[in-house]
């Protein structure tokens, strides 16, 4: 069992690919079909380009506040790739690449950061819960989804995301504990990107690792190189097997780094050093995964160039479509408070329309 071999209390970190893209542990290399490997890589690159562009659009005043994912693509795509279609993704707010892999469209994901509720209006069969900004609150939702799967004997797991900062929150504890007590099929992915806005991981916990928190809950936990998509894949694969067998939740700590700011409102140069960023830029998940695919003869630099160009065009085209959506209609913002609008709210809307007519 990987969680035994890579015991976080013994300082072990699960790795398959090193940062140069070489296999460091041949026995652990997963047998993933070529099509899936390419889909994983392409989604990571799409996530990256969409991320870099989103930041640019925001700087041009065309996009609103946005939370970048740069550097964390493997910790997202490696996870979702190991799931089945019927599994549930319970995001925090920095999982765009994972959501893309799960089937959300870029247009929709952009719409969220463009300030439109349509960005959370996923098709039901995608099984993606809405983005959750209140820190760690979604862990409890994941526990509930997992409970429902278990009692209805559905072969599904829930994967809930949280950040390193989120592990300090009461709701992290409450959700993991709830899932542990009932042996629920929940996988908690902690994207430990080292920073919660300006607060470093050391201020969040005295514990050496976040994965070791699993010990106190009586469940499995593992620390994984979060910039290694293959390591993330096998960690989730094993956790999923356990979850489906009724052996309870797993905490997977993905060691990664937020290469960008917390959001576009944040200036990370105030609180962190350039050399730390440079260290992690060298460990970019995309660089190593590309090399792995090139070594496997699945991909070439030429393919890469072509795909990057096509993807950039696609992202630009998508954002133009997003911009065309413009402002939200008045009726839309009133429509979803309840299934049937209450009489009082209907009156408020009618009065406001009357005002708009008179104000013309």
């Amino acid at each position: 069992m990987l969680t035994k071999q890579y015991d976080p209390l013994k300082g072990k970190i699960l790795e398959v690919l090193d940062y140069k893209g070489k296999i460091v542990n041949e026995k652990l290399e997963p047998k993933i079909d070529d099509e899936t490997l390419l889909k994983m890589y392409k989604t990571m690159v799409l996530g990256r380009i969409a991320d870099v562009k989103a930041l640019q659009y925001q700087r041009q005043g065309r996009m609103l506040t946005y939370a970048p994912i740069k550097g964390q693509e493997a910790a997202q795509v490696g996870v979702i790739a190991a799931l089945e279609k019927q599994d549930w993704m319970v995001p925090a707010f920095r999982e765009m690449a994972g959501m893309l892999y799960k089937g959300a469209s870029l247009k929709q994901l952009y719409l969220y950061w463009y300030g439109n509720e349509e960005g959370n209006h996923f098709d039901e069969d995608l099984r993606i819960l809405p983005i959750s900004v209140p820190i760690a609150s979604q862990i409890n939702h994941g526990a509930g989804v997992a409970y429902a799967a278990k009692v209805q004997k559905k072969e599904e797991v829930a994967v809930a995301y949280v950040g390193d900062g989120g592990t300090s929150h009461g709701e992290f504890h409450e959700g993991v504990n709830f899932a542990a007590v009932f042996d629920l099929p929940l996988i908690v992915i902690i994207q430990n990107n080292q920073w919660a806005i300006s607060t470093p991981r050391e201020v969040q916990t005295k514990a050496e690792t976040l994965a070791q928190k699993a010990v106190a809950y009586g469940i499995q936990g593992i620390q994984v190189d979060g910039n290694d998509p293959l390591a993330m894949y096998i960690a989730v694969q094993e956790a999923r097997k356990r979850a489906i067998k009724g052996e309870g939740p797993t905490i997977i700590e993905a060691l990664t780094y937020r290469l960008g700011p917390h959001t576009t409102s944040d200036d990370p140069t105030i609180y962190r050093k350039d050399e730390d960023v440079a260290y992690w830029e060298e460990r970019d998940p995309i660089i190593r995964f590309k090399q792995y695919l090139i070594d496997k003869k699945l991909w070439t630099e030429k393919d890469d160039e072509k795909y990057n160009k096509e993807t950039t065009d696609f992202v630009n085209k998508t954002f133009k479509e997003v911009e065309k959506t413009g402002l939200i209609e008045l009726d839309e913002v009133f429509k979803y408070t309840f299934e049937t609008m209450t009489k009082d709210v209907a009156e408020q809307l009618a009065d406001y329309k009357e005002y708009l007519k008179e104000a013309k």
Binding site: L64, P134, H169, A196, T199, L330, F334, T337
Partner: protein, 324 residues
């Protein structure tokens, strides 16, 4: 006299009071090293050290719950909640403990503390960053709720709050944090809690607002020109609010409009109008009225314009009440 924004007035008041009272500690998410996401506590850690200005782990209930213990044991905590939309995990601590400690212990413990948080909409922010939840807190016995609308009041009210024997929630209208500057005295002064300010005297209608909306009403008054003579009152303290000033004003004008961004139903306007009905009913020439946020979740930015109360809408509502 120094020229200050609301934000810089808050920072400088914290600085002034921390220099004077070494029991004051400021803390919260990103509050220490960086000085908060809005920089309201900027420079305080550098000046007063890491024990008096610090970054907490990311957990609102721990921030407020630990403030209870600090206040019991001789400190004066000034916790910051990063955005009002994130206070809810600490709601239990605030309602179940902060508000009740004095009552439960018959005054053995009184929990002097100031819980600061930016609130309100209109900055095209993400989800949970645009709420106006003052009535949730004003509803609870034992909590004082204060909202400044100018740099002068920010300093004067915060000074009063920091020297108050009871817990004070200090809600900062982030939309106007840096919107304008004002000359304010360099030395310590206080604006009393529980006292409204008559911003502009008038005879035709009493309009009450607070926070960012005071300026919006001022703009509405300009739009109306000389036709209607509005008396504008800045409530400044939501709980306990200044009934006398409101009632006295309505007895003179005969008309009452309250403008707030908070949701309508069971909101602060309902409370104020009840008071007007109870205390000035026979003076009324029109039904006391509220212009408020709709009873819908604050929309994301591309729909927020429907929710935001504009000067034009305020002017329109004033005319309606006056021409009733």
């Amino acid at each position: 006299m120094p020229v200050e924004t609301i934000l810089s007035a808050i920072t400088n008041t914290l600085d002034e009071q921390m220099a004077k009272d070494d029991t004051i500690v400021v803390f919260g998410e990103d509050v220490g090293f960086e000085g908060g996401v809005f920089r309201a506590t900027k420079g305080l850690q550098q000046k007063y050290g890491k024990e008096r200005s610090f970054d907490s782990p990311l957990a609102e209930s721990a921030i407020i719950g630990s403030a209870v213990g600090m206040a019991v044991n001789g400190l004066k905590p000034v916790p910051e909640i990063q955005f009002q939309g994130f206070v809810l995990p600490a709601f239990n601590q605030i309602v179940a403990h902060v508000a009740r400690y004095r009552t439960r212990t018959k005054g053995t413990y009184s929990l002097p503390m100031v819980i600061r948080m930016p609130y309100g909409g209109g900055i095209r922010a993400l989800e949970h960053h645009s709420e106006s939840l003052e009535s949730l807190f004003a509803h609870i016995p034992g909590l004082k709720v204060v909202i400044p609308s100018t740099p002068y009041d920010a300093k004067g009210l915060l000074t009063s709050a920091l020297q108050d024997p009871d817990p004070v929630l200090f809600f900062e209208p982030k939309r106007i944090y840096r919107a304008f500057k004002q000359e304010i005295p360099d030395k310590e002064f206080k604006v009393p809690l529980g006292k409204a300010k008559v911003v502009k005297k008038g005879t035709d209608i009493t309009v009450v607002a607070w926070g960012a909306l005071v300026r919006e009403v001022e703009k509405a008054i300009k739009l109306l020109g000389d036709d209607i003579n509005v008396e504008l009152i800045d409530l400044r303290t939501i709980q306990p609010y200044d009934k006398d000033t409101l009632v006295e004003s309505v007895k003179k004008t005969g008309r009452f409009l309250v403008v707030h961004e908070a949701y309508k139903s069971f909101g602060p306007g309902a409370e104020l109008i009840s008071t007007i009905n109870e205390k000035a009913f026979l003076y009324l020439e029109a039904p006391p009225t509220r212009l408020s946020g709709f009873d819908i979740t604050v929309p994301l930015p591309k729909g927020e314009h429907h929710f935001i109360i504009t000067p034009e809408r305020i002017a329109h509502e004033i005319k309606k009440v006056v021409n009733f």
